[in-house]
Point group: C2
């Protein structure tokens, strides 16, 4: 019976794919976003925040993964039975915003947005159902310079975050070129186009053999699942692969362009794509954003089907160890592209648009690896112990003095004795514990325990007797000098920590 009763209690657990975030990550993420925001603001992109919930039809269905009902989106019905969805990216809501406010917005309209998005997808290691994106978009400009600009801005943001030139690259391609190639092999069908696109998108992860299979009959993966292919014949596959691999040979932007020009042949749309890339290249050359920052790569196609022209992928090129200990490229931390039809979904009127989206958690992981997180070391508070409950107001005054001097401090708020209070201060990561017992009060002093030095010494001390004997890292100071002496001790601790880092 007791068991039955117990099972009526809810379990304290999170649904798969969600996680709690601790103080250090919150603060470091905030700093990171402030840096990105600084760069974007200097380019004239203004902040905007759209709500988490929108009408499902306003967001549309543009996600590549369809292994869940709802096509990857969390949806539910409103009271009036209309379908609502949690936003799955920050681009679809921007299109809704621009369509709703078109007349009063300056054109082009440049905005940045940062916030959580949600995917109702199968979670996995490092793959969450709630994650953060940070986007910048220029809506209302058809110019390839606008595409170039968001890539340049992303490159600048990476460097502002401390990622060295050479450790990142913005890879750029143009969907129209792929369209031209498909025209050339007689494949203009919309559904086949999407299958081909997603096959190419897997090049990085699965390699060229798998892509060939996915372009042809299909592919049996390691788990035994069969993915139906695009059904191209051998010649068609060869042509598509030649296009995809046009970037692998390397070379300058001009070299890649020359190869692509040959591959699109007479296709009008393909030529348009090449011309747009050429205009980007000319501008990037003229203003000094070299190939080691922004390169052309035909293998970049992006999985989302709303892109209509240039597409971008930001890759970090330094190596890390994966779960199996293999040395691998860090990989993608963001991407984007041009989506000229997204606003027209609402208004019927074509509004050209382009943008770049950073995967904030991926970028965070990268900066953590590079030791470039500017975590503003939020000091754990000094803990003032409560030795005499009848005198808590005196204890509180010590806390208040410290706090007024800009030192985070707290009075122990539990009901336990001295030993538990010391354990608390320790668990809390407190740098110092302040103790004023009856004896101390009579002598007009307080004890300061240096908990950082204490932890170090405790490790070196053999017995409890020795400990009591030595009372490591404890100093009695006049009550009137509390603030000055605590500050002194904190400064010493910081200096010691810096020495250790050095």
């Amino acid at each position: 019976m007791a068991k039955k009763k117990k099972s009526a209690r809810p379990k304290a657990r999170l649904p798969k794919g969600f996680r709690d975030i601790d103080a250090a990550e919150i603060a470091a993420t905030r700093e990171m976003l402030a840096t990105v925001r600084g760069v974007y603001a200097s380019y004239g992109f203004a902040e905007l925040e759209t709500p988490f919930i929108e009408y499902a039809d306003a967001l549309g269905k543009f996600l590549p993964d369809q292994d869940r009902p709802n096509e990857g989106v969390f949806s539910f019905q409103d009271e009036d039975e209309q379908w609502l969805s949690l936003r799955y990216d920050l681009t679809a809501p921007l299109a809704r915003y621009v369509a709703a406010n078109h007349d009063r917005l300056p054109k082009p309209y440049r905005s940045m947005r940062a916030g959580w998005v949600f995917r109702n997808e199968k979670p996995g290691p490092g793959r969450f159902r709630q994650f953060m994106q940070c986007d910048a978009d220029t809506v209302g400009s058809a110019s390839p310079l606008a595409d170039a600009e968001v890539c340049m801005m992303a490159a600048d943001a990476f460097e502002a975050l401390g990622i060295s030139r050479g450790d990142y690259v913005l890879k750029v391609n143009n969907r129209k070129i792929l369209d031209g190639v498909l025209e050339g092999i007689g494949q203009a069908d919309e559904a086949a186009r999407l299958t081909i696109l997603r096959a190419i998108d897997k090049l990085d992860r699965l390699g060229p053999e798998a892509v060939r299979a996915l372009l042809g009959e299909g592919r049996l993966d390691d788990s035994g699942d069969f993915t139906k292919g695009a059904g191209l014949d051998a010649d068609q596959i060869a042509h598509v692969m030649a296009f995809v691999e046009a970037g692998l040979e390397g070379g300058s932007r001009a070299d890649v362009l020359a190869r692509l020009e040959r591959l699109v042949g007479g296709s009008q749309r393909g030529k348009e794509g090449v011309a747009e890339l050429s205009e980007m290249a000319a501008f990037l050359d003229a203003v000094g954003y070299a190939e080691n920052r922004i390169a052309f790569d035909p293998a970049v196609v992006r999985g989302l089907d709303y892109y209509t022209g240039p597409v971008f992928e930001a890759e970090l090129t330094f190596h890390v160890e994966d779960e199996d200990g293999n040395r691998v490229r860090f990989g993608s931390v963001g991407g984007g592209g041009r989506y000229d039809d997204l606003v027209a979904r609402f208004t019927g009127q074509k509004v050209p648009a382009t943008g770049f989206s950073v995967g904030v958690s991926r970028l965070y992981a990268a900066l953590e690896h590079l030791k470039k997180l500017q975590a503003p070391a939020q000091q754990a508070p000094v803990v003032v112990l409560v030795m005499d409950r009848a005198r808590v107001a005196d204890t509180w005054r010590m806390v208040e003095e410290l706090r007024n001097a800009g030192i985070a401090a707290e009075m122990y708020m539990g009901t336990s004795g001295m030993k538990a209070q010391m354990k608390y201060a320790d668990r809390r990561g407190a740098p110092i514990a302040v103790i004023e017992g009856e004896d101390e009060r009579a002598k007009g002093i307080v004890q300061l325990k240096d908990l950082i030095e204490g932890r170090r010494k405790a490790a070196a001390i053999a017995s409890r007797e020795e400990w009591v004997e030595q009372r490591p890292a404890q100093v009695a100071v006049p009550r009137g000098e509390l603030v000055a002496r605590v500050r002194e001790l904190l400064e010493k601790q910081h200096a010691d920590a810096d020495d250790e880092d050095a």
Copy 2:
């Protein structure tokens, strides 16, 4: 037919109760939260962020409003058919977090959380279905000092935000006292207790007559809806109202306590409540938080049913005009209380807890009214016009020079001519437009248009001819002095703006 086609397009609109937020509000809210966070951090509260989605049973059903299915919560089923909910406050997720991490957390565990919460309620003016809260909680302390501390901390935060002493008050009560009063009138039934509680909670909004009706048979509201009452008889109602009105007579915390002590009579639970308030009062007196900051008010009960002891309400006492032009108190901007059973829902083990939650949008509105928003005036960018598309790289270099000097700047990214570009710069709120046409380039100069001065002068100028004649607020400067002269002009604009404010 054309009409039919049009209606197939989604409408660019938001569901009711949701809204977009502009750059100024985003920046000012960020500043506001940074100030609150600074105060809370100085008290030793560490940041924590829980996800937006939790299992519905983990959040529980604690919302007062039941005018929607789902009882006010947005819910949907996961793939495995378990119910998920969007968080409706930041307290229920904290209880889940503490239960899940109990062994490794320091006790007491002090955290702060800020973020969006969602209510599936009927939206109204100023009442949104997505809004922001900022909470601080001490979990693992049964001490009334912990209750006092969160109120003191909230008071400090209000003052740090620029709300003067006297313009806010933290009103404190204790649910146990109400329980004692109900015991005294022979009403211990749980459901009746909740109805009584919610009747009292409406005192501020509906007045004493309505509360009397809700305590008795029930009440017919203006819209003709009848709300069933708690069914108390006249004597019982009189006793409850005497309790509720014990605070209206005013007086010191000690005066209110003396009145309450009489009202709870012999009830053990009532006496406990009075004793807890007494301990808070003694501490508040000793550390100098006077009645004008933290007062006792028996009419404060809070609508949520998870509170078990002290409850708090933060009220702003200055007056504003409501929609009908009446002078009304600004009113509540937050509240909280003790919820000793919330963690026990999961573990069976009682974990005492208390906390305070700020309604961020309400507080924002208050600071806006008081002109205390510290909006870090994000300057709209200087717009550099594109006069010759063949020379965009030269144009870009001007933008880059400005940006490298710390001046937000952008190159016009559209495809329109000069007139539209000027209109763009104006709509953008740009302070300055930079123009380098063929003539200017030949002479080695650029034109700076002071758009702020220009707007002012344009208003005073009668005809287009006069305008063209005078060319107000335009100055030619050497190309080499671009950055210096733009900076000079921006500084002049700031100085002029300050003069106007003074």
